[in-house]
Assembly symmetry: C2
Homo-oligomer: 268 residues x 2
Protein backbone atom coordinates (compact mmCIF):
# COMPACT_ATOMS: atom_id res chain seq x y z
CA UNK A 1 0.00 0.00 0.00
CA UNK A 2 1.50 3.36 -0.90
CA UNK A 3 1.37 6.53 1.18
CA UNK A 4 -1.64 7.92 -0.68
CA UNK A 5 -3.70 4.80 -0.10
CA UNK A 6 -2.79 4.79 3.58
CA UNK A 7 -3.80 8.41 4.00
CA UNK A 8 -7.18 7.91 2.38
CA UNK A 9 -7.84 4.93 4.62
CA UNK A 10 -6.69 6.90 7.67
CA UNK A 11 -8.84 9.93 6.90
CA UNK A 12 -11.90 7.78 6.15
CA UNK A 13 -11.43 5.86 9.40
CA UNK A 14 -10.84 9.09 11.36
CA UNK A 15 -14.00 10.63 9.87
CA UNK A 16 -15.96 7.50 10.75
CA UNK A 17 -14.62 7.47 14.34
CA UNK A 18 -15.47 11.14 14.80
CA UNK A 19 -19.00 10.58 13.49
CA UNK A 20 -19.43 7.63 15.87
CA UNK A 21 -17.83 9.61 18.73
CA UNK A 22 -15.25 6.82 19.11
CA UNK A 23 -12.07 8.23 20.76
CA UNK A 24 -8.90 7.94 18.67
CA UNK A 25 -5.47 9.58 18.37
CA UNK A 26 -3.62 10.58 15.21
CA UNK A 27 0.20 10.67 15.36
CA UNK A 28 1.98 12.64 12.62
CA UNK A 29 5.72 13.15 12.13
CA UNK A 30 5.96 16.95 11.88
CA UNK A 31 9.76 17.33 11.53
CA UNK A 32 12.52 14.91 10.57
CA UNK A 33 12.68 11.72 8.57
CA UNK A 34 9.25 10.51 7.41
CA UNK A 35 7.63 13.92 7.81
CA UNK A 36 3.83 13.80 7.29
CA UNK A 37 3.67 10.01 7.92
CA UNK A 38 0.68 9.17 10.06
CA UNK A 39 -0.45 6.50 12.49
CA UNK A 40 -4.05 6.34 13.69
CA UNK A 41 -4.63 4.50 16.96
CA UNK A 42 -7.65 3.59 19.04
CA UNK A 43 -8.01 1.40 22.12
CA UNK A 44 -8.67 -2.23 21.19
CA UNK A 45 -8.13 -1.70 17.45
CA UNK A 46 -5.16 -2.36 15.16
CA UNK A 47 -3.24 0.85 14.37
CA UNK A 48 -3.61 2.17 10.82
CA UNK A 49 -0.74 3.60 8.77
CA UNK A 50 2.97 3.67 9.57
CA UNK A 51 5.65 6.12 10.66
CA UNK A 52 8.42 4.18 8.95
CA UNK A 53 8.98 0.78 10.56
CA UNK A 54 7.43 -1.60 13.07
CA UNK A 55 9.67 -0.46 15.95
CA UNK A 56 8.76 3.22 15.76
CA UNK A 57 5.11 2.29 15.15
CA UNK A 58 5.08 0.15 18.31
CA UNK A 59 6.52 2.94 20.46
CA UNK A 60 4.33 5.73 19.08
CA UNK A 61 1.23 3.52 19.31
CA UNK A 62 2.00 2.97 23.01
CA UNK A 63 2.53 6.70 23.64
CA UNK A 64 -0.52 7.70 21.57
CA UNK A 65 -2.72 5.28 23.52
CA UNK A 66 -1.37 6.90 26.70
CA UNK A 67 -2.25 10.38 25.46
CA UNK A 68 -5.63 9.09 24.29
CA UNK A 69 -6.44 7.62 27.69
CA UNK A 70 -5.41 10.91 29.30
CA UNK A 71 -7.45 12.89 26.74
CA UNK A 72 -4.41 15.03 25.97
CA UNK A 73 -2.51 16.07 22.82
CA UNK A 74 1.19 16.86 22.64
CA UNK A 75 4.30 17.25 20.52
CA UNK A 76 6.88 14.59 21.45
CA UNK A 77 10.48 13.94 20.40
CA UNK A 78 12.12 10.67 19.42
CA UNK A 79 15.10 9.15 17.63
CA UNK A 80 14.39 8.07 14.07
CA UNK A 81 13.45 4.58 15.31
CA UNK A 82 11.36 5.89 18.20
CA UNK A 83 14.18 6.08 20.76
CA UNK A 84 13.34 8.05 23.90
CA UNK A 85 15.48 11.08 24.74
CA UNK A 86 16.56 11.76 21.19
CA UNK A 87 15.37 14.62 19.04
CA UNK A 88 15.64 13.41 15.43
CA UNK A 89 11.92 13.60 14.78
CA UNK A 90 9.01 15.51 16.25
CA UNK A 91 5.66 13.77 16.43
CA UNK A 92 2.37 15.56 17.01
CA UNK A 93 -0.04 13.25 18.80
CA UNK A 94 -3.52 14.69 18.45
CA UNK A 95 -6.23 13.15 20.56
CA UNK A 96 -9.84 13.20 19.45
CA UNK A 97 -11.59 12.52 22.73
CA UNK A 98 -13.16 14.62 25.45
CA UNK A 99 -10.70 15.33 28.30
CA UNK A 100 -11.18 13.39 31.53
CA UNK A 101 -13.10 15.26 34.20
CA UNK A 102 -12.20 15.94 37.79
CA UNK A 103 -15.01 17.05 40.06
CA UNK A 104 -13.83 18.58 43.33
CA UNK A 105 -16.42 18.96 46.08
CA UNK A 106 -15.48 21.66 48.55
CA UNK A 107 -14.06 25.12 47.86
CA UNK A 108 -11.51 24.82 50.66
CA UNK A 109 -7.85 25.65 51.18
CA UNK A 110 -6.59 22.57 49.31
CA UNK A 111 -8.87 23.07 46.30
CA UNK A 112 -6.79 25.62 44.39
CA UNK A 113 -3.62 23.51 44.53
CA UNK A 114 -5.50 20.37 43.44
CA UNK A 115 -7.12 22.28 40.55
CA UNK A 116 -3.70 23.40 39.32
CA UNK A 117 -2.25 19.88 39.49
CA UNK A 118 -5.33 18.46 37.75
CA UNK A 119 -5.05 21.02 34.94
CA UNK A 120 -1.42 19.93 34.46
CA UNK A 121 -2.77 16.39 33.86
CA UNK A 122 -5.30 17.70 31.33
CA UNK A 123 -8.46 17.34 33.37
CA UNK A 124 -11.54 19.47 32.83
CA UNK A 125 -11.92 20.67 36.44
CA UNK A 126 -15.25 21.45 38.08
CA UNK A 127 -15.40 22.77 41.65
CA UNK A 128 -18.74 22.31 43.36
CA UNK A 129 -19.68 23.73 46.74
CA UNK A 130 -23.15 24.56 48.04
CA UNK A 131 -21.73 27.53 49.94
CA UNK A 132 -21.84 30.41 47.45
CA UNK A 133 -19.47 32.66 49.43
CA UNK A 134 -16.61 30.13 49.13
CA UNK A 135 -17.15 28.81 45.61
CA UNK A 136 -16.37 31.68 43.27
CA UNK A 137 -14.51 31.74 39.96
CA UNK A 138 -12.35 34.59 41.29
CA UNK A 139 -10.99 32.30 44.04
CA UNK A 140 -10.31 29.46 41.58
CA UNK A 141 -9.23 30.96 38.27
CA UNK A 142 -7.66 27.64 37.17
CA UNK A 143 -10.92 25.70 37.33
CA UNK A 144 -12.98 25.25 34.17
CA UNK A 145 -16.18 25.82 36.11
CA UNK A 146 -17.25 26.65 39.64
CA UNK A 147 -20.76 25.49 40.55
CA UNK A 148 -22.94 26.39 43.55
CA UNK A 149 -25.05 23.33 44.12
CA UNK A 150 -25.53 20.46 46.55
CA UNK A 151 -23.13 17.63 45.61
CA UNK A 152 -25.77 14.91 45.20
CA UNK A 153 -28.00 17.12 43.08
CA UNK A 154 -25.01 18.12 40.91
CA UNK A 155 -23.85 14.50 40.41
CA UNK A 156 -27.34 13.19 39.74
CA UNK A 157 -27.43 15.13 36.47
CA UNK A 158 -24.05 13.64 35.47
CA UNK A 159 -24.39 10.02 36.64
CA UNK A 160 -24.62 8.56 33.13
CA UNK A 161 -21.98 10.89 31.67
CA UNK A 162 -19.07 10.15 33.99
CA UNK A 163 -16.62 7.46 32.89
CA UNK A 164 -13.75 5.39 34.30
CA UNK A 165 -11.17 8.03 33.31
CA UNK A 166 -12.94 10.63 35.47
CA UNK A 167 -12.21 11.38 39.13
CA UNK A 168 -14.19 12.73 42.05
CA UNK A 169 -12.38 14.33 45.03
CA UNK A 170 -14.36 15.18 48.16
CA UNK A 171 -12.50 17.82 50.17
CA UNK A 172 -15.38 19.37 52.11
CA UNK A 173 -14.65 17.89 55.60
CA UNK A 174 -18.28 18.30 56.59
CA UNK A 175 -20.55 15.25 56.89
CA UNK A 176 -23.51 17.35 55.74
CA UNK A 177 -21.86 17.66 52.30
CA UNK A 178 -19.46 14.67 52.32
CA UNK A 179 -22.03 11.94 52.89
CA UNK A 180 -24.34 12.87 49.97
CA UNK A 181 -21.28 13.56 47.76
CA UNK A 182 -19.69 10.15 48.40
CA UNK A 183 -23.03 8.31 48.15
CA UNK A 184 -23.76 9.96 44.79
CA UNK A 185 -20.17 9.41 43.55
CA UNK A 186 -20.58 5.67 44.22
CA UNK A 187 -23.53 5.65 41.78
CA UNK A 188 -21.19 6.72 38.95
CA UNK A 189 -18.62 4.80 36.90
CA UNK A 190 -15.71 7.13 37.76
CA UNK A 191 -12.36 5.37 38.16
CA UNK A 192 -11.36 7.28 41.28
CA UNK A 193 -13.19 8.54 44.36
CA UNK A 194 -11.08 10.12 47.10
CA UNK A 195 -12.15 11.84 50.30
CA UNK A 196 -10.06 14.13 52.50
CA UNK A 197 -10.11 14.02 56.27
CA UNK A 198 -8.56 12.23 59.22
CA UNK A 199 -8.86 8.47 59.69
CA UNK A 200 -11.37 9.14 62.50
CA UNK A 201 -13.47 11.41 60.28
CA UNK A 202 -13.57 8.69 57.65
CA UNK A 203 -14.61 6.04 60.19
CA UNK A 204 -17.56 8.26 61.07
CA UNK A 205 -18.34 8.71 57.38
CA UNK A 206 -18.28 4.94 56.77
CA UNK A 207 -20.74 4.48 59.62
CA UNK A 208 -23.07 7.15 58.24
CA UNK A 209 -22.80 5.80 54.68
CA UNK A 210 -23.64 2.28 55.90
CA UNK A 211 -26.65 3.68 57.73
CA UNK A 212 -27.65 5.36 54.48
CA UNK A 213 -27.67 1.91 52.84
CA UNK A 214 -24.27 1.93 51.05
CA UNK A 215 -22.82 -1.60 50.86
CA UNK A 216 -19.23 -2.43 51.89
CA UNK A 217 -17.96 -3.38 48.39
CA UNK A 218 -19.03 0.07 47.22
CA UNK A 219 -17.33 1.72 50.22
CA UNK A 220 -14.07 -0.04 49.29
CA UNK A 221 -13.91 2.23 46.20
CA UNK A 222 -13.38 5.29 48.39
CA UNK A 223 -9.72 6.28 48.85
CA UNK A 224 -9.68 7.98 52.27
CA UNK A 225 -7.69 9.63 53.66
CA UNK A 226 -7.10 10.85 50.10
CA UNK A 227 -3.65 10.55 48.44
CA UNK A 228 -0.49 8.46 48.55
CA UNK A 229 1.36 8.32 51.87
CA UNK A 230 4.47 10.21 50.71
CA UNK A 231 4.73 12.64 53.63
CA UNK A 232 3.12 15.72 52.06
CA UNK A 233 3.27 18.92 54.09
CA UNK A 234 1.70 21.67 51.98
CA UNK A 235 -1.51 21.88 49.91
CA UNK A 236 0.63 21.64 46.76
CA UNK A 237 2.41 18.51 47.97
CA UNK A 238 -0.96 17.03 48.94
CA UNK A 239 -2.19 17.75 45.40
CA UNK A 240 0.80 15.80 44.01
CA UNK A 241 0.00 12.90 46.39
CA UNK A 242 -3.62 12.87 45.19
CA UNK A 243 -2.71 12.97 41.48
CA UNK A 244 -0.10 10.24 41.95
CA UNK A 245 -2.76 8.11 43.69
CA UNK A 246 -5.19 8.64 40.81
CA UNK A 247 -2.54 7.42 38.32
CA UNK A 248 -1.60 4.46 40.55
CA UNK A 249 -5.22 3.39 41.09
CA UNK A 250 -5.79 3.41 37.33
CA UNK A 251 -2.68 1.25 36.85
CA UNK A 252 -3.81 -1.14 39.60
CA UNK A 253 -0.75 -0.40 41.78
CA UNK A 254 -1.36 -0.62 45.51
CA UNK A 255 2.16 -1.04 46.83
CA UNK A 256 4.43 1.47 45.21
CA UNK A 257 8.19 1.77 45.06
CA UNK A 258 10.54 4.03 43.26
CA UNK A 259 11.22 2.81 39.72
CA UNK A 260 14.80 2.38 40.95
CA UNK A 261 13.68 -0.34 43.37
CA UNK A 262 10.98 -2.02 41.26
CA UNK A 263 11.58 -4.44 38.43
CA UNK A 264 8.76 -4.09 35.90
CA UNK A 265 8.76 -2.08 32.67
CA UNK A 266 9.05 1.68 33.18
CA UNK A 267 6.37 2.33 30.59
CA UNK A 268 3.09 0.45 30.91
CA UNK B 1 2.73 38.86 78.39
CA UNK B 2 0.24 41.10 76.60
CA UNK B 3 -0.25 41.33 72.84
CA UNK B 4 1.96 44.38 72.49
CA UNK B 5 4.91 42.74 74.24
CA UNK B 6 4.55 39.63 72.06
CA UNK B 7 4.58 41.68 68.88
CA UNK B 8 7.71 43.58 69.82
CA UNK B 9 9.49 40.33 70.62
CA UNK B 10 8.28 38.79 67.35
CA UNK B 11 9.34 41.73 65.21
CA UNK B 12 12.74 41.94 66.91
CA UNK B 13 13.31 38.23 66.42
CA UNK B 14 12.11 38.40 62.80
CA UNK B 15 14.46 41.33 62.11
CA UNK B 16 17.33 39.41 63.69
CA UNK B 17 16.57 36.26 61.65
CA UNK B 18 16.40 38.25 58.43
CA UNK B 19 19.72 39.95 59.19
CA UNK B 20 21.31 36.57 59.92
CA UNK B 21 19.62 35.02 56.82
CA UNK B 22 18.04 32.40 59.07
CA UNK B 23 14.85 31.02 57.43
CA UNK B 24 11.63 31.58 59.38
CA UNK B 25 7.87 31.76 58.78
CA UNK B 26 5.39 34.22 60.25
CA UNK B 27 1.77 33.07 60.60
CA UNK B 28 -0.87 35.79 61.06
CA UNK B 29 -4.64 35.39 61.51
CA UNK B 30 -5.99 37.68 58.79
CA UNK B 31 -9.74 37.09 59.21
CA UNK B 32 -11.84 35.64 62.04
CA UNK B 33 -11.32 35.30 65.78
CA UNK B 34 -7.91 36.47 66.94
CA UNK B 35 -7.29 38.60 63.88
CA UNK B 36 -3.72 40.03 63.76
CA UNK B 37 -2.40 37.41 66.24
CA UNK B 38 0.99 36.13 65.15
CA UNK B 39 3.16 33.07 65.53
CA UNK B 40 6.79 33.09 64.40
CA UNK B 41 8.33 29.69 63.67
CA UNK B 42 11.74 28.42 62.65
CA UNK B 43 13.14 24.91 62.37
CA UNK B 44 14.68 23.73 65.64
CA UNK B 45 13.49 26.75 67.65
CA UNK B 46 10.53 27.30 70.00
CA UNK B 47 7.68 29.18 68.30
CA UNK B 48 7.15 32.77 69.45
CA UNK B 49 3.73 34.34 70.02
CA UNK B 50 0.31 32.71 70.00
CA UNK B 51 -2.78 32.49 67.80
CA UNK B 52 -5.10 31.91 70.73
CA UNK B 53 -4.43 28.57 72.40
CA UNK B 54 -1.93 25.72 72.47
CA UNK B 55 -3.97 23.51 70.09
CA UNK B 56 -4.18 26.03 67.26
CA UNK B 57 -0.53 27.02 67.86
CA UNK B 58 0.56 23.36 67.51
CA UNK B 59 -1.31 22.90 64.21
CA UNK B 60 -0.23 26.20 62.64
CA UNK B 61 3.37 25.66 63.76
CA UNK B 62 3.34 22.27 61.97
CA UNK B 63 1.86 23.78 58.79
CA UNK B 64 4.16 26.81 58.90
CA UNK B 65 7.23 24.56 59.24
CA UNK B 66 5.92 22.66 56.18
CA UNK B 67 5.59 25.85 54.17
CA UNK B 68 8.99 26.98 55.42
CA UNK B 69 10.66 23.75 54.32
CA UNK B 70 8.97 24.10 50.93
CA UNK B 71 9.98 27.78 50.73
CA UNK B 72 6.37 28.75 49.98
CA UNK B 73 3.85 31.21 51.43
CA UNK B 74 0.07 30.73 51.45
CA UNK B 75 -3.28 31.70 52.90
CA UNK B 76 -4.84 28.72 54.71
CA UNK B 77 -8.20 28.14 56.38
CA UNK B 78 -8.96 26.53 59.71
CA UNK B 79 -11.60 26.18 62.38
CA UNK B 80 -11.15 28.49 65.37
CA UNK B 81 -9.10 25.80 67.14
CA UNK B 82 -7.07 24.94 64.03
CA UNK B 83 -9.43 22.26 62.67
CA UNK B 84 -8.74 21.25 59.06
CA UNK B 85 -11.48 21.74 56.50
CA UNK B 86 -13.23 24.53 58.37
CA UNK B 87 -13.21 28.17 57.37
CA UNK B 88 -13.66 30.16 60.60
CA UNK B 89 -10.27 31.82 60.34
CA UNK B 90 -7.84 32.62 57.55
CA UNK B 91 -4.13 32.47 58.32
CA UNK B 92 -1.45 33.99 56.13
CA UNK B 93 1.74 31.98 56.44
CA UNK B 94 4.59 34.07 55.09
CA UNK B 95 7.90 32.34 54.57
CA UNK B 96 11.15 34.26 54.74
CA UNK B 97 13.46 31.82 52.96
CA UNK B 98 14.74 31.38 49.44
CA UNK B 99 12.59 28.91 47.46
CA UNK B 100 14.06 25.45 46.88
CA UNK B 101 15.74 25.01 43.51
CA UNK B 102 15.17 22.38 40.87
CA UNK B 103 17.85 22.08 38.21
CA UNK B 104 16.75 20.11 35.16
CA UNK B 105 19.48 18.94 32.79
CA UNK B 106 18.17 18.34 29.29
CA UNK B 107 15.73 20.45 27.27
CA UNK B 108 13.79 17.38 26.12
CA UNK B 109 10.15 16.42 25.65
CA UNK B 110 9.59 15.73 29.36
CA UNK B 111 11.18 18.97 30.53
CA UNK B 112 8.22 21.33 30.06
CA UNK B 113 5.83 19.10 32.03
CA UNK B 114 8.36 18.67 34.86
CA UNK B 115 8.95 22.45 34.98
CA UNK B 116 5.23 23.07 35.35
CA UNK B 117 4.86 20.51 38.14
CA UNK B 118 7.96 21.90 39.90
CA UNK B 119 6.56 25.45 39.73
CA UNK B 120 3.35 24.16 41.37
CA UNK B 121 5.56 22.98 44.27
CA UNK B 122 7.23 26.40 44.50
CA UNK B 123 10.64 25.52 43.07
CA UNK B 124 12.85 28.03 41.35
CA UNK B 125 13.39 26.06 38.13
CA UNK B 126 16.57 26.19 36.03
CA UNK B 127 16.81 24.26 32.77
CA UNK B 128 20.36 23.62 31.59
CA UNK B 129 21.31 22.11 28.24
CA UNK B 130 24.54 22.58 26.32
CA UNK B 131 22.61 22.42 23.05
CA UNK B 132 21.53 26.01 22.38
CA UNK B 133 18.93 25.10 19.76
CA UNK B 134 16.89 23.07 22.28
CA UNK B 135 17.31 25.17 25.40
CA UNK B 136 15.42 28.41 24.76
CA UNK B 137 13.15 30.43 27.05
CA UNK B 138 10.48 30.41 24.34
CA UNK B 139 10.23 26.62 24.57
CA UNK B 140 10.07 26.69 28.38
CA UNK B 141 8.13 29.77 29.45
CA UNK B 142 7.46 28.26 32.90
CA UNK B 143 11.13 27.97 33.83
CA UNK B 144 12.76 30.73 35.86
CA UNK B 145 15.91 30.47 33.78
CA UNK B 146 17.18 28.56 30.79
CA UNK B 147 20.96 28.19 30.62
CA UNK B 148 23.19 27.02 27.75
CA UNK B 149 26.15 25.43 29.48
CA UNK B 150 27.76 22.06 30.08
CA UNK B 151 26.18 20.48 33.18
CA UNK B 152 29.38 19.98 35.16
CA UNK B 153 30.58 23.52 34.48
CA UNK B 154 27.16 24.89 35.48
CA UNK B 155 27.01 22.88 38.73
CA UNK B 156 30.60 23.63 39.70
CA UNK B 157 29.66 27.28 40.22
CA UNK B 158 26.75 26.24 42.47
CA UNK B 159 28.27 23.37 44.48
CA UNK B 160 28.38 25.29 47.75
CA UNK B 161 25.04 27.00 47.24
CA UNK B 162 22.81 23.95 46.75
CA UNK B 163 21.10 22.57 49.84
CA UNK B 164 19.16 19.47 50.95
CA UNK B 165 15.82 21.00 49.89
CA UNK B 166 17.07 21.35 46.29
CA UNK B 167 16.66 18.76 43.53
CA UNK B 168 18.58 17.84 40.39
CA UNK B 169 16.83 15.96 37.57
CA UNK B 170 18.90 14.60 34.68
CA UNK B 171 16.65 14.04 31.65
CA UNK B 172 19.21 14.23 28.85
CA UNK B 173 19.43 10.52 27.91
CA UNK B 174 22.91 11.03 26.49
CA UNK B 175 25.98 9.71 28.32
CA UNK B 176 28.03 12.64 27.02
CA UNK B 177 25.89 14.99 29.15
CA UNK B 178 24.45 12.58 31.78
CA UNK B 179 27.76 11.31 33.16
CA UNK B 180 29.28 14.75 33.96
CA UNK B 181 25.87 15.96 35.22
CA UNK B 182 25.44 13.06 37.66
CA UNK B 183 29.07 13.15 38.77
CA UNK B 184 28.83 16.88 39.49
CA UNK B 185 25.42 16.49 41.19
CA UNK B 186 26.96 13.96 43.59
CA UNK B 187 29.41 16.65 44.73
CA UNK B 188 26.50 18.78 46.01
CA UNK B 189 24.31 18.51 49.11
CA UNK B 190 21.01 18.37 47.18
CA UNK B 191 18.38 16.10 48.74
CA UNK B 192 17.32 14.51 45.46
CA UNK B 193 19.15 13.38 42.33
CA UNK B 194 17.08 11.58 39.68
CA UNK B 195 18.06 10.41 36.20
CA UNK B 196 15.72 9.44 33.36
CA UNK B 197 16.34 6.48 31.07
CA UNK B 198 15.81 2.75 30.85
CA UNK B 199 17.21 0.32 33.39
CA UNK B 200 19.80 -0.73 30.79
CA UNK B 201 20.83 2.87 30.14
CA UNK B 202 21.34 3.36 33.86
CA UNK B 203 23.44 0.18 34.17
CA UNK B 204 25.73 1.63 31.50
CA UNK B 205 25.82 4.94 33.36
CA UNK B 206 26.74 3.25 36.63
CA UNK B 207 29.60 1.47 34.85
CA UNK B 208 30.88 4.75 33.36
CA UNK B 209 30.51 6.63 36.66
CA UNK B 210 32.47 3.90 38.48
CA UNK B 211 35.19 4.17 35.85
CA UNK B 212 35.19 7.92 36.45
CA UNK B 213 35.95 7.21 40.12
CA UNK B 214 32.50 7.62 41.70
CA UNK B 215 32.10 5.33 44.73
CA UNK B 216 29.07 3.04 45.22
CA UNK B 217 27.64 4.81 48.31
CA UNK B 218 27.51 8.00 46.24
CA UNK B 219 25.85 6.15 43.33
CA UNK B 220 23.12 4.93 45.70
CA UNK B 221 21.89 8.55 45.93
CA UNK B 222 20.82 8.48 42.27
CA UNK B 223 17.13 7.65 41.72
CA UNK B 224 17.10 5.97 38.29
CA UNK B 225 14.92 5.28 36.41
CA UNK B 226 13.50 8.54 37.79
CA UNK B 227 10.10 8.66 39.51
CA UNK B 228 7.71 6.50 41.50
CA UNK B 229 6.46 3.34 39.79
CA UNK B 230 2.80 4.44 39.50
CA UNK B 231 2.26 3.51 35.84
CA UNK B 232 2.70 6.94 34.24
CA UNK B 233 1.93 7.16 30.52
CA UNK B 234 2.35 10.81 29.51
CA UNK B 235 5.05 13.44 30.21
CA UNK B 236 2.65 15.12 32.65
CA UNK B 237 2.01 11.88 34.55
CA UNK B 238 5.77 11.24 34.61
CA UNK B 239 6.23 14.73 36.10
CA UNK B 240 3.77 13.82 38.88
CA UNK B 241 5.68 10.56 39.50
CA UNK B 242 8.97 12.50 39.79
CA UNK B 243 7.56 15.15 42.15
CA UNK B 244 5.91 12.47 44.31
CA UNK B 245 9.28 10.67 44.50
CA UNK B 246 11.04 13.89 45.57
CA UNK B 247 8.52 14.34 48.41
CA UNK B 248 8.77 10.66 49.42
CA UNK B 249 12.60 10.68 49.41
CA UNK B 250 12.61 13.73 51.66
CA UNK B 251 10.21 11.98 54.06
CA UNK B 252 12.34 8.81 53.99
CA UNK B 253 9.53 6.70 52.50
CA UNK B 254 10.67 3.88 50.25
CA UNK B 255 7.65 1.62 50.23
CA UNK B 256 4.56 3.66 49.63
CA UNK B 257 0.91 2.88 50.01
CA UNK B 258 -2.24 4.89 49.75
CA UNK B 259 -3.04 6.72 52.99
CA UNK B 260 -6.13 4.50 53.05
CA UNK B 261 -3.95 1.41 53.45
CA UNK B 262 -1.22 2.83 55.69
CA UNK B 263 -1.50 3.46 59.39
CA UNK B 264 0.74 6.40 60.32
CA UNK B 265 -0.26 10.03 60.77
CA UNK B 266 -1.55 11.72 57.60
CA UNK B 267 0.48 14.84 58.34
CA UNK B 268 4.16 14.46 59.15
Amino acid sequence: MNEGTYSTLIFDTLAHSLRERRPCALATIITGKGVRSKLLVAAGAKALGSLGNTEIDRIIERDALGELAAGSSSVRHYGSNGEAGEQDIQVFIETFAPPPRMIIFGAVGFTAALSRAAKLLGYRVTICDARATFATSARFPEADEVVNEWPDRFLLALTDELRPQDAICVLTHDHKFDIPAIAAALETQVGYIGAMGSRRTHEERVKLLREAGVADPALARVMAPIGLDIGSRTPEETAIAICAEIIAVRAGRNSIQSLRDSSGPIHI
